[in-house]
């Protein structure tokens, strides 16, 4: 029993010491070796090859926010996995989508989820959305050493701000720098193309259905021009993961729902491969 190795079955003193409500702070005091950022990497030649996740997109709409990701993980020019999941609920009212080194990203999400849950249980109240975004920033910063060796993790954080009654998006860089995005945002290798698509299609007054379709269109465009991003895989029935966060909390679209959206986008693309057009003037 990990928690008990240092004593005779009694909770160690660190457990009963009043202090921070942060699980990460507790770990760094009690068992710092368990924190991902504290791992010592041996010196390596060149960049370490590990599966990478690619494109994550997010769009706000009145009453909420949509966060979606493609399903491809690549290792160099090889497709490492076709059905990887890169979008996760962080808690009841927020979600995080991650581009970058898949293994580290999944671990970071697990710790981030725990960090939020731990705070909520200890304090009896949720962190503010801003507070959650800042915690994620700290975690990315602690990964900077590995990012320098090519193991970067770049998340997109989206949530429903209960205090302001609206959806908000935060994007990050590898150093943990955080910025709030207005309307739409994307991260990962296909993000330039996705962002172009969203820029043309985005409006302030989208409905939830339009917003979910928009992100699938954007992911299609990313996959169209970026080899590391996967498009909807009709043959294997692998469709993008689309999540919606509103006043009612986090919801991940079912496979049926996301396949319906992806199929309708595909059908339109059969007639018009470059997708919907914005008016010129």
């Amino acid at each position: 029993m990990e928690a008990n190795t240092r004593s005779t079955g009694r909770l160690p003193a660190a457990f009963l010491t009043p202090g921070s409500s942060s699980f990460m702070d507790f770990l760094s005091e009690h068992q710092p070796e368990l924190l991902p950022g504290n791992r010592q990497l041996p010196p390596t030649q060149g960049v370490i090859e590990a599966p990478h996740g690619t494109t994550i997109v997010s769009v706000t709409f009145p009453g909420g926010v949509v966060l979606a990701g493609d399903r491809r993980a690549t290792m160099g020019n090889v497709i490492a996995q076709r059905d990887i999941e890169k979008v996760f609920p962080a808690d009841e009212y927020s979600a995080v989508g991650i581009a970058g080194t898949a293994g580290l990203a999944v671990e970071m999400v697990k710790l981030f989820q725990l960090e939020l849950e731990h705070f909520e249980k200890v304090e009896g109240a949720q962190l503010s959305l801003e507070g959650k975004a800042n915690r994620l920033s700290t975690m990315i910063r602690s990964n900077l050493g590995m990012a320098m060796q090519g193991l970067a993790v770049v998340p997109l954080f989206a949530g429903y701000d209960v205090d302001r009654d609206k959806g908000r998006i935060f994007s990050y860089d590898v150093t943990g720098g955080r910025s709030e995005e207005h309307g739409y945002a994307a991260t990962g290798s296909g993000s330039i193309f996705a962002r172009g698509a969203m820029k043309k299609l985005f409006r302030e007054d989208l409905s939830e259905a339009e917003a979910t379709t928009l992100v699938v269109q954007a992911l299609y465009d990313a996959a169209d021009d970026d080899s590391a991003t996967g498009g909807p895989d009709v043959a294997r029935r692998i469709y993008p993961i689309v999540t919606v966060i509103t006043e009612d909390g986090f919801r991940r679209l079912t496979d049926d729902e996301s396949s319906a959206i992806a199929r309708s986008v595909l059908e339109r693309r059969l007639e018009q491969p470059d997708g919907p057009r914005a008016a010129l003037l």
């Binding site: 990990e2 928690a3 005779t8 079955g9 909770l11 009043p18 368990l34 009841e92 731990h118 009896g124």
Partner: protein
């Protein structure tokens, strides 16, 4: 020069136990009952912010009677223990039995170490299973002993009388409204036999609800939902019970 007093070990332990019991008896008692869809925690608590019941982990809840700062300390220790264990291994590896053991060891060590004053607390650790058979309820008195309970349990100063009352009336498969009402009846009986009214605002109620779709089964029952359950007669109330879960 004065000779130091000799106190026999039996006497020392009896004194410590009495000290702890008296401390616990100063607070209100609380009850934990199994019902058809889970486990319900009911207690009288005028405070909205300082809880007697709380979530430890996905399926595990915590209830405490006695001295607030001491049980709060143990509660946070339990949350840290559970989160660390779930992080190191897997969420399924966090169990009420493991947690109860750690609490028992902790309370036991404190109780019998001469340097520390005994904790004036009595705890309940409960885990809701997939089915009623999988439910686990552990009662942990101040001295670090551990009691595996079934059906209903009461802790606090007036616990013996209340659990006697509950043992006679509690049965398996009660609805939430029925269990809640039984709990309130049990709590509103005074030690001298008379009854008093506990208004809904002074009740703290929480459940571990196995029908909840989320991984985390703990939720508080407050406000309208609570008064609806208290007013409803028997099974009729149940329909609305689990629907609007998140009005915390």
């Amino acid at each position: 020069m004065s000779t130091p007093f000799y106190v026999s070990p039996q006497q020392a332990m009896a004194d410590r136990a009495e000290y702890a019991r008296k401390g616990i008896a100063r607070g209100r008692s609380l009850v934990v009952l199994q019902y058809a869809d889970g486990i319900v925690f009911v207690g009288e608590n005028p405070s909205r912010a300082l809880h007697k019941f709380s979530e430890i982990y996905d399926r595990i809840g915590f209830a405490a009677a006695g001295k607030y700062n001491e049980y709060e300390n143990l509660r946070i220790g339990g949350v840290r223990y559970a989160d660390l264990r779930g992080y190191t291994y897997d969420r399924d590896d966090v169990t009420a039995r493991g947690l109860a053991n750690v609490y028992a060891q902790t309370l036991g060590t404190i109780f019998s170490s001469a340097g520390e004053k005994p904790y004036e607390v009595e705890l309940v650790v409960a885990e809701v299973g997939e089915t009623p058979d999988g439910d686990q309820i552990y009662r942990l008195p101040h001295d670090g002993s551990i009691v595996d309970e079934h059906g209903s349990v009461a802790v606090g100063g007036n616990a013996e009388q209340i659990s006697g009352y509950l043992d006679q009336r509690h049965r398996d498969g009660m609805s939430l409204a029925e269990a809640l009402k039984l709990a309130v009846q049990a709590l509103s009986r005074d030690p001298n036999g008379s009854e008093r009214e506990i208004p809904a605002e002074r009740l703290e109620v929480a459940v571990l609800d196995r029908t909840r779709p989320q991984k985390r089964k703990f939720r508080r029952i407050v406000g309208r939902q609570l008064s609806r359950l208290l007013e409803a007669d028997g099974a009729a109330a149940e329909a609305g019970g689990s629907e609007d879960s998140d009005e915390e």
